[in-house]
């Protein structure tokens, strides 16, 4: 099987494709998380509309960090047999998947749900990918929550 397990791509993502990437003879449970582009987001001020997103990434580091999340998962959930993380770059339209994360285990109680949840949380902490939100009359690069141990803006930080 030559498909990469951790990949950034400009092409549409396929859930069937990621299932094939992690499927194994000895696995019976696969959990896949798909993050899709919301066209409408409920806010205190009523619904906010989005037209499309554009993703930019530091590609080699992002793929390295996604592989690291795979390593962290195998350390925390030793029964996990397969992990794949795929992320779009470029323009993504409403309802399109922007990220897919699949985790395969022999049985459904072997950590596939927990590990998949962990992966999406970690992705949003350490994988250098950014989204630009575009709507009718504007655009903005969205920044995620600050990870204090990574922030270099204050000189006197503790080393990691």
């Amino acid at each position: 099987m030559s498909a990469k397990l951790f990949e950034l791509t400009e092409n549409p993502l396929s859930q069937d494709d990621i299932l094939r990437r992690v499927s194994r003879f000895d696995c019976g449970g696969v959990v896949t998380f798909a993050g899709t582009v919301r066209g409408s987001t409920a806010t205190g001020d009523g619904d906010r509309e989005t037209d499309f997103l554009v993703y930019e990434a530091y590609v080699p580091m992002a793929e390295k960090m996604m592989a690291r999340i795979g390593d962290e998962i195998r350390e925390r959930w030793p029964l996990v047999k397969g992990v794949s993380i795929l992320h779009r770059i470029g323009r993504c339209d409403i309802e399109e998947p922007t990220v897919l994360i699949a985790v395969a285990t022999p049985h459904r109680d072997d950590g596939c749900f927990e590990a998949c949840r962990y992966a999406i949380e970690r992705l949003k902490e350490i994988v250098p990918i950014w989204k630009q939100e575009n709507w009718r009359d504007g655009e903005v690069w969205v920044e995620g929550p600050r990870q204090p141990d990574l922030d270099v803006s204050t000189p006197n930080q503790a080393p990691t």
């Binding site: 949003k124 250098p128 969205v142 920044e143």
Partner: protein, 87 residues
């Protein structure tokens, strides 16, 4: 020595450039590079990677290093995103 500086997303936009080669004295740190080349960004929250690994302000640089300035990541999806620049 020379290092390559790369900026992404909102930092790239704020700095007005994407990629640049910077000459630095030997033993210069990440902090030295930032103060020398992008002092105007120092009020913002961002991370630094040296050769694709997260680094700190006091990380010492070497000739040929690639130093990337990374805004707090916002990949994935399925979380409330904010409108307008974060404070």
């Amino acid at each position: 020595m020379k290092v390559r500086l790369v900026l992404f997303a909102g930092l790239r936009q704020a700095a007005g450039f994407k990629r640049e080669t910077v000459s630095l004295p030997e033993d210069a740190t990440v902090g030295d590079l930032l103060e020398c080349r992008v002092p105007n960004l120092l009020g913002r929250t961002f991370y630094v990677a040296v050769n694709e690994e997260f680094a700190q302000r006091d990380t010492v640089l070497h000739d040929g290093d690639e130093v990337a300035l990374l805004p707090p990541v916002s990949g994935g999806q399925a979380h409330p995103s904010r409108r307008g620049f974060p404070s």
